[in-house]
């Protein structure tokens, strides 16, 4: 062994001997890995470790995540990618590829048969229980006919290398297989961070496969449309692989939709857009079978579309994979695959499978029960990964109870050989460690067969001795290389871009899905609310610091006014008002901490931020990488703020400074990363609406009452400060602070972008660009409301507004104007919601039933 490579493998097998992909039992190296290892040794272990950190950083910065259900660490755990790839040589891969093509075809034929003639059951090839007792067998899918060249459009298999040196099939994934997007991201990331390790190695690229996938989606359209409407159906941001749904949506260029974005009308599926309904031809679904149609399948599902199955039956939409294909995720089929292969294809099964015994047969059941400790037992429909029994680790009582379960429903269980699959080297804390690996492969249907992705997703067990490989349990992943031992044919750079041929016909503001539009609108509103609140509180904190220094009476009075204005601006009641007033004035920081940090109080900064997060995640396919970075940094600063500093003025001020800077960076990025027709328009309307509302609230809280001169000065200064307008004031008026000038600048200025008049006019302009739902040229109620607001402010004059009647404290005209404007903006927002988003209809079952499919 090469000396420099030797260093890597020092103590590699300590306490743990296993069949390894790289290091053979005689300590020689698998020649397929030679060049890679020599590239590594050129870098050295220290550098490799540094690169691993870069890789971790890149993935986290790019927001590559994997959600673990019920994870105490919360949503969006970072995706792990180990720097050391997994290699299979082209020669071996060719054999595997053939085997995968055969398996996909075979499963396709099984799928056709079990929802059609059911010859496999009638002829005794497959016991009926394996199909009929599988919860993935959906009876409503019986006899559905498809126009696509295959019934099974996408197939995914988990492979692992068995003791005989061959890759074995361990699982099939057919319902909504995940991993394609992650494997692509793995390739891009490895390529970006450690391009040096590719030197002299010819790695097959997956872009041809993605082209086939895209062509498959286009060809699947039922009416052979040239430019079909294709959407990706996701269960939403809480799903474990939501990152991937969003990722594929941006990569393939098809909109990401939820069930509530779609509707069945007139025997077709439609997407709800701003303009109206647009027919959907193809759905690439990531929602599990049983959840896709609450009419015919699970009635309690809110992730699907009621009536979808009937549209499929009428061949007005194609779904990848067809609903009902989850029945093939069925270890019960494994013992019968050979006979099925002979029955359909008159040939032997090419890829070996993990040895499995179906307990529905007497002889097999007896064998399993007698040797239970040596088996891994699974239900034939493993819907829940926690239901796999690793019998060697079970106690006697647990074994007995499993035995009873098997005896009660023998046909429901399959026992599999406990196998020590091969390991591959993983970089762990500055040295290499052997870890179990599992390869997920991907096949998509073509006219005459299946196209296989060269490589796929390699998952690595989380612990050295861990047998199970599952992302739900933690663990990491690897880039999967298919290498060609002949050196690179030319110096030509391999392309890392991918262009697809069809234009996305769901582009343009008119075709923006209503849900996306709504999320953009609220993103704008919450961002504005966060920014304005942060600035306002920062201003109050500054004033508190100043008055400690001056100790003037007018300071105390103006401070009290400012405290109360916080409560009016944020609506976090009681705050500094009502009965709470006295206590709150004594300990203002306590109240301010609530307004800042109490996530459960609507109106608090924490609440606005977390509401923004929700809209933000739902839109992640729209955001650019830079936006991810800024957003991530913002989150970290906010969440790392120590609870014990909640009353420390200096630290809070510093926190707010950072938050404000990051928010401004983020807002700037939004405006340059998204096109108006992609929905930026909605975001702007939201942003301006919230800014206008908060401008009105601030002005009402500070200027509606007439104070004495000293206090008024303080208040005006505070208002301008919180508005970041003091400099502009000085530039424009070059005078002592005066209420008339302030009103002119903050409310009535025509061209100053922070003035209320400017904002209202801007909203009106943006709303006029919204698509009309009818040909009717009359103003919509949205337009009417905003127009009236603009007219009101147009006709207002500062000198009238600041007038105070004799014996009165309140500036009545100012108060009346601001209150009317507030109502009009509220009505504008309401009619906008009714007209364009309209989710007021609930999905209700005609008859309530409780059951699980």
């Amino acid at each position: 062994m090469d000396k420099s490579i030797d260093v890597f493998f020092k103590n590699y097998f300590k306490n743990f001997k296993n069949y390894d992909e790289v290091l053979r039992s005689d300590m020689s190296i698998n020649p397929n890995w030679n060049i890679l290892l020599s590239n590594f040794s050129k870098l050295g272990i220290k550098e490799l470790n540094k690169k691993q950190q870069d890789l971790d950083w890149l993935l986290s910065e790019n927001g590559v995540t994997y959600n673990v259900y019920n994870d105490p660490k919360g949503l969006n755990r970072p995706w792990n990618l180990n720097i050391i790839p997994f290699i299979i040589d082209q020669k071996e891969w060719k054999t595997i590829e053939k085997g995968l093509q055969q398996r996909a075809e075979l499963l396709n034929l099984i799928l056709k048969d079990i929802y059609g003639k059911r010859e496999l059951i009638k002829n005794g090839i497959v016991p009926h229980e394996i199909i009929f007792a599988h919860r993935g067998f959906l009876r409503p899918c019986h006899q559905i006919q498809y126009k696509t060249s295959k019934d099974l459009l996408i197939h995914s298999a988990d492979l692992a290398r068995g003791p005989n040196g061959q890759m074995w099939v361990v699982n099939d994934r057919t319902s909504a297989p995940s991993g394609m997007g992650y494997s692509l991201e793995n390739r891009f990331s490895t390529r970006e961070v450690v391009s040096d390790i590719f030197n002299e190695i010819n790695v097959k690229q997956p872009f041809g496969f993605f082209k086939d996938l895209n062509q498959l989606l286009i060809n699947a359209a039922p009416k052979n449309k040239e430019n079909p409407t294709i959407v990706i159906l996701t269960p939403g941001p809480h799903n474990e692989t939501y990152f991937e749904h969003a990722y594929l949506s941006s990569f393939l260029g098809y909109p990401l939709v939820k069930g509530s974005d779609l509707v069945v009308r007139d025997q077709k599926v439609w997407i709800k857009t701003l303009k109206g309904l647009i027919q959907v031809d193809v759905i690439y679904r990531r929602v599990d079978d049983a959840f896709t149609d609450p009419l015919e399948l699970r009635g309690d599902s809110y992730l699907g579309v009621a009536g979808l199955l009937q549209v499929v039956r009428n061949q007005n939409v194609a779904i990848m994979n067809p609903i009902g294909s989850g029945v093939l995720e069925n270890p019960g089929l494994i013992p019968f695959m050979n006979s099925i292969c002979k029955y359909f294809l008159k040939e032997d099964l090419l890829l070996p499978q993990i040895a499995s015994w179906w307990c529905g047969q007497e002889k097999e059941r007896k064998h399993v029960l007698e040797n239970l400790k040596n088996f891994v037992v699974k239900p034939i429909d493993i819907t829940n990964r926690e239901n796999i029994y690793f019998c060697e680790f079970l106690s006697k009582t647990e074994l007995d109870s499993l035995r009873n379960e098997i005896l009660a429903k023998p046909y429901h269980y399959v026992a599999q050989e406990k196998i020590s699959f091969s390991t591959a080297p993983n970089l762990t804390k500055e040295h290499l460690e052997p870890r179990k690996v599992m390869c997920r492969t991907f096949a998509v249907a073509k006219e005459n067969g299946y196209s296989i992705m060269p490589g796929g997703l390699v998952r690595v067990a989380s612990e050295r001795e861990e047998l199970r490989v599952s992302n739900q349990k933690g663990g990491t992943s690897k880039d999967f290389w298919i290498t060609n031992s002949t050196t690179k044919s030319s110096k030509k750079r391999q392309r890392y871009h991918w262009h697809h041929s069809t234009a996305n016909n769901l582009s343009g503001i008119e075709n923006l899905p209503s849900n996306t539009a709504e999320n953009l609108y609220w993103s704008g509103r919450y961002l504005a609310r966060t920014l304005v609140t942060a600035r306002y509180i920062r201003m109050v904190l500054n004033q508190m610091g100043n008055s400690d220094y001056h100790k003037r009476d007018s300071d105390f009075e103006s401070l009290h006014i400012l405290y109360q204005s916080i409560t009016h601006l944020t609506s976090v009641f009681p705050g500094f008002t009502g009965k709470n007033k006295v206590a709150a004035f004594k300990d203002p920081l306590k109240e301010i901490a609530i307004v800042l940090f109490d996530k459960n109080k609507v109106g608090s900064l924490a609440h606005a931020l977390s509401s923004f997060n929700n809209s933000y995640y739902s839109l992640r396919n729209l955001w650019s990488k830079d936006m991810w970075r800024v957003y991530d940094a913002l989150q970290k600063v906010w969440h790392n703020f120590d609870k014990k500093d909640h009353k420390n003025i200096q630290k809070i001020t510093k926190l707010l400074d950072t938050i404000i800077t990051k928010l401004i960076a983020f807002i700037g990025l939004i405006e340059e990363s998204i096109l108006v027709e992609q929905g930026l328009l909605l975001y702007f309307i939201g942003l301006q609406t919230e800014q206008a509302i908060m401008c009105i609230d601030k002005t009402r809280a500070l200027l509606a009452v007439n104070y004495n001169e000293d206090v008024e000065y303080e208040v005006l200064e505070a208002l301008l400060n919180s508005h970041e307008s003091l400099n502009i004031y000085r530039y424009s008026f070059k005078s002592y602070l005066d209420i008339k000038n302030v009103v002119n600048l903050i409310l009535l200025d025509n061209s100053y972008s922070r003035s209320l008049k400017y904002q209202l006019n801007r909203i009106r302009k943006d709303i006029s660009k919204m698509p009309k739902r009818t040909e009717n040229t009359a103003l919509t109620s949205v337009e009417k409301n905003i127009l009236e607001a603009c007219n009101l402010i147009e006709n207002a004059s500062a000198s009238e507004l600041i007038k105070v009647d004799e014996n009165e404290f309140v500036r009545k005209q100012l108060e009346t104007l601001l209150s009317s404007l507030s109502d009009l903006i509220h009505n504008t927002s309401m009619s906008l919601t009714d007209m364009y988003f309209n989710h007021s209809d609930e999905q209700i079952q005609l008859i309530n039933q409780k059951y699980n499919l």
């Binding site: 006899q143 015919e296 009621a306 009937q310 209809d841 609930e842 999905q843 209700i844 005609l846 008859i847």
Partner: protein, 307 residues
């Protein structure tokens, strides 16, 4: 015997429903012994789309969608059905099958005959009948014995449910689990049928759910009231070598001409008369009425007109 059946279901909603998608399982079956002479499904408001499919179990399912705003939905199924029980294969005429013991029946179920493979899926857990409790199994075993005739045992089970269980329309809903019905010994026809199915499956024989109608007769000397009948349900046991035999535990009867069959399934979940998803808000009130009476011939109705 020819029956006219009018089955009306109505929903009144508090608020407007924007649109809805529904499934109706209301068309009586056609088989030797039952002939559908006429069938019409009337729906108000008029659906935008209706279409019929044959489901996995061979029942007719009608899909309909209403795509305009409405506050009331009325579904009326009018059927004219000729029932001739005497044409049906009757187990009483097949003494070998009638006398078939449980032990032999279970043995016969292990053969690879197509009928048997088909029937055996009715042995498996279904949506509403699963994880059958030891109580139900024990209840079944009182009647089903190794060397006793399956037919006799099933008939006795029907009689015991009829005697032990109390008909109580207020006790259960479509969502009440069979274990609760078993415990309280109360319920309606659907509950009794499902308890019986669980019993039969627990001893290893296939059993299925039958949904349909039964003609009720008015007390002697009284006029029959319109709409007093109801949807009905009972169970059916598979006897190898013969086929399916129906039993009505609500009335302790082996169904004959008074029973009209709409559909078969594993349990109620497979064959609800009506189900749907509506889009709107607020509550609704449902009302069902079923009227079954012997069809009047042309002559009779004319003579009535003369009065």
């Amino acid at each position: 015997m020819i029956f006219s059946i009018i089955h009306t279901t109505s929903y009144k909603y508090d608020n407007n429903v924007t649109y809805c998608h529904n499934l109706a399982n209301l068309k009586p079956k056609d088989f030797l012994g039952q002939k559908v002479l006429d069938y019409q499904l009337e729906i108000t408001p008029k659906p935008t789309v209706t279409s019929d499919n044959s489901d996995f179990f061979g029942n007719t399912v009608t899909h309909f969608s209403i795509e305009k705003q409405h506050k009331e939905l009325i579904v009326t199924a009018r059927s004219k059905v000729e029932r001739s029980f005497e044409l049906q294969k009757n187990i009483l005429h097949f003494s070998v099958c009638k006398e078939l013991t449980l032990e032999t029946a279970l043995e016969k179920l292990n053969t690879l005959d197509e009928d048997i493979i088909n029937a055996r899926q009715f042995l498996l857990d279904s949506v509403l009948i699963n994880k059958i409790s030891p109580e139900i199994e024990a209840y079944a075993k009182v009647s089903f014995k190794k060397d006793r005739s399956v037919f006799d045992a099933a008939q006795e089970l029907m009689k015991r449910i009829f005697t032990d269980f109390k008909f109580d329309a207020n006790f259960s809903t479509v969502a009440t689990p069979i274990d609760e019905v078993m415990k309280a010994k109360k319920g309606v026809c659907q509950d009794f049928a499902q308890v019986a199915i669980a019993c039969v499956r627990s001893i290893g024989l296939p059993a299925r759910y039958v949904s349909g109608y039964i003609e009720t007769l008015p007390p002697p000397g009284k006029e029959k009231l319109v709409g007093t009948d109801a949807s009905h349900a009972w169970f059916s046991v598979f006897i190898p070598g013969f086929g399916w035999v129906d039993f009505d535990p609500t009335n302790n009867q082996i169904p004959k001409n008074q029973h009209i069959i709409i559909s078969y399934g594993r349990d109620y979940f497979d064959v609800p008369p009506l189900k749907g998803v509506i889009y709107g808000s607020g509550n609704s009130i449902m009302d069902v009425s079923v009227d079954i009476r012997p069809a009047k011939t042309q002559g009779q109705s004319q003579s009535q007109n003369q009065f």
